[in-house]
């Protein structure tokens, strides 16, 4: 791992991941057993095994993405008739009722954001592994967006929570959560961990000869 002139890594300094205090690493420092003198968090110049861990979490999230979208997320019983809804059929239901702003919220939060997040992470991982020097600042901004938007995917899980709590009228009407709720939660949690385990500093670590710091 080579840092570009001007980075903490290049100056043999380590910034704490928790409190951001910059420390000088001692000679023979091996990225282990070194704690921040201010907050006690373990010091690492780069997040450990960032690329491998992020790949593993991304692949796991992709695996869960299929049952999350194919299986029913809610099971609605009204006067004896049973109706099972997937995430997509829920979106279609809102469109048919003319509630397109709500349809858009659910579509963006539950289908578009997880896919966007996974695609951005895969693109970032490949670009880092290929030591690409293109669009560094833009890729860093993409990473920042990925980190921020992931939480909003939880909307559908919270909708199911409210529905099962409220629609509990015995034989008249009843809502049960479907198996997709569990798979979908897994997708959200795994992508959040994936975004957290990616180290955006890797985007800036490889510089071609002669390329200068702006």
């Amino acid at each position: 791992m080579m840092g570009h002139p001007g980075t903490a890594l290049d100056a043999a300094l380590v910034a704490c991941g928790a409190c951001e205090l910059v420390s000088r690493a001692p000679l023979g420092y091996s990225d282990h057993r070194l704690a921040c003198s201010r907050c006690g968090a373990p010091l690492h110049a780069r997040k450990r095994d960032s690329v491998t861990r992020t790949w593993a979490l991304v692949i796991a999230a992709i695996v869960f993405y299929f049952p999350a979208n194919l299986l029913p997320i809610t099971r609605i019983e009204t006067l004896g008739s049973v109706e099972e809804d997937t995430i997509l059929s829920g979106v279609i239901y809102f469109i048919q009722n003319g509630d397109w702003p709500v349809a858009l919220v659910i579509f963006v939060a539950s289908i578009f954001v997880p896919l966007l997040k996974l695609s951005i992470l895969i693109a970032l991982l490949i670009s880092v592994q290929r030591k690409s020097g293109w669009w560094r600042k833009e890729r860093t901004v993409l990473y920042r967006v990925t980190e921020k938007i992931g939480r909003w995917s939880m909307v559908d899980v919270f909708v199911v929570t409210v529905l099962v709590a409220l629609v509990d009228l015995g034989a008249l009407a009843n809502v049960d959560a479907g198996p997709a709720a569990a798979y979908f939660s897994a997708v959200v949690v795994l992508t959040m961990f994936a975004a957290a385990s990616f180290d955006s500093r890797l985007i800036w670590d490889c510089y071609a000869d002669g390329e200068r710091n702006r």
Partner: protein
Amino acid sequence: MSTGIPKYDPMLDRDPEQLGALAISHNALIACPECDLLQRYRAIPIAGVARCPRCDFILYREIPNSIDHALAFALAGLVLFVVGCAFPLLGLRFGSNLVEATLLTGIGELWSQGLAGVSALVLLTCIVAPVTHVGLMLYVCVPLKFGRRPWRVDLALRSLKSLQPWSMIEVFMLGVLVSMVKLAKMATILPGLGLWAFAGAIIAVVAAMAVLDLRTVWNKLALCR
């Protein structure tokens, strides 16, 4: 307002005598958390923002009365949050039936339907993480206001930072609004006291997070005994 920061020159800071020591800290240096560019801390105007010249990341802000304001918002947030949890969020009238539900009803219902994982996740993101997060803010800010160092403040601040992404009450609020629209077609929806308290709690908690600058907290702590 954005202020550029002078580029760091490693030659100015090379001190061979210190190399053997364990983790000597440099409070005047900042390494951008997103691109690792080393920079020197420089005072910026009040309400100003210092950005990384290379990747545009916000390195630090100069927030006036950061700790006082965070303390006020966190306290308001905690009170409103407790009210929001204790009173019904929504009521549903269907013919002569009236069902009222709190957040805990939903978590219990998910649990009893065999979705223990989802139930635990909702409990974590809507109750445990927000309460602990706001509680830790108060735990750090109250003694700091009186110039004292809270016990194990290092652990408290590390937990505060790692809990932040898992506190999702504003996302939960959006979920409540979506379910109101979904149910409005089949029954009468009655917003409960809990809903209004929750709305207030979200504003207070988000404001507390926005005004609390952890760099300021660490710098203040260095002056406390």
